[in-house]
Amino acid sequence: MIKGKLSRKTYGLYNFMDYRRVWPKVVYGLFILFMLTVVVVSVLPPISLFFAGFKNPQDIYSVPFKLLPESFDFSKIAKVWTDMNFGKYFVNSVIVIAGALVCSIVFNGLLAYATAIVKPAGHKVVYSLVLGSMMIPAVLSIVPLFNQIVKLQLTNKHIALWLAAGANAYHFVLFHTYFKSLPKSLMEAARLDGCSKLTLFYRIVAPLSAPIIGVVAIFTLNATWSDFLLPFLVLKQDATRTVMVKIFDMQSNMSTSAQFGMDYLLVVLSISMIPPIALFIIFQKQITGSVSTSGMKD
């Protein structure tokens, strides 16, 4: 007889009936083994990176390979942080993220509100133009975009990145789909009560939008923290750089710079992974939920 969860499994390729036999149990064991391998492959690389950060530079690639460092000296993290003046880049990232959050929610949200609910003349054209832009690779527009930013003298200014977050087709689509799903009768009732389009937004739509604003905020937070190409091109002065730009800069200058070794880069990399992973652990449901419903990966 079988006990526990398998005896209650009613779905899938094998159900509780099959698990009364021996062979399916063996297969199930193999499945568990497979998933354990997946877990190891997923988790081991970042963990080995974290451990290697504690090693001395000359020991990182020592033979034979050792996963664990000789000692865990946590003061090293603080030392790297101050040596690299990392607080500065961290603050820059936070500034960029704060502005990007506001812009992403306000501008994409308002545009989606217009195309999904207000529907002025031409809203269909706007909608398809935004959607069409999702198909075009970003690099196609990066040169002229960079050019425009230079002409407006926005280089080394975080505002360029804030505004860029306000034109995000993915976040627009998330808002648009959500607004479409709001009950129409509610809008009608509000309009009959004499709500103007602006009050309709503040009194009815905005209060109902907390869930979608949350989702867009999480995505913006993660995307802005990880964003690289535009910040790299726009932020040329070291003092304005974000964490990701600085990390790339460290990696490309590593062979020529005597200021820091490989271990410093590894420590900084580990630090850079903590915020998104923490975000994921806190908002697991929202993140995995919208991946599987929208099919959107980044």
Binding site: G12, Y14, F31, V39, S141, V143, M244, Q251
Partner: protein
Amino acid sequence: MLPSLVLFSFFVWVPLLSNISLSLYTTKGFEKIQFSGLENYLAVFKDDLFVGALLNTCEYAFWSVIIGFLAPVIMAIILNEIVHFKGFFRVCAYLPNMVPGIAAAILWTFLFDPSAGSMVNSIIVALGKEPSLLIDDSDLSIILIIIAMTWKGAGATMLIYLASLQSIDSTYYEAARLDGANFMQRLRYVTIPHLLPNISTLFVLQIISVFQVFYEPMVMLDGGTDASISLMLLSYNYAFKDSKSGYSAATGVILAAIIIAFTLLYNFVQKKLSPQSE
């Protein structure tokens, strides 16, 4: 609405159009000099680097289909069968997706380091083989980059398949079981047909996204070697390293054309296959 439109114009639509026009001009720095028609296009097709990058990009797509495409399907089917620690497995499989792109690329540069003491080399040695040059081996670099990309992306794709698998009504399996179908037959006649729409959509999305591979060769191979440079990276190098922004624009337009062609082909095949929908 107006300010949002201004932003979209500034960040998306105008750059797009000016890039197309830029590709038709001779350039100096980032400035247009003189209208030259399709000269930039002809020039890039004569450039060995461009032809190499085009072939490399196709090679990326090929390996991405072989390695990166099947992994999430298999992971989803197996995870859907599992009842113990399901949440834990799902979270761990998705975790790499949260690692920022640049950080993931540097992480794998570290694991794929050609020195004998790198993690991957020590595994190879433990298996009784000679240490490999890994990322510095021009025959291997594309495959290794695809492995790194699969590591990051597979968990998210798996979740999409998993959601689809969970929507299969168990009566289908019940019926198959009553008809005496074994495990493989149930997989073949119930599970796979149900996943097919997702599989075809994600297949096209994967090809589209791998055609835009950029960070990985740039970071993992210091700006890309001849054996690994992709069209996106070449377009970037033309613009920001070689000051040939006309070439860069032309390369970008060609890349976009390939991607749009794929999308249209996909829509066409989709319509042929399912005439009842739409």
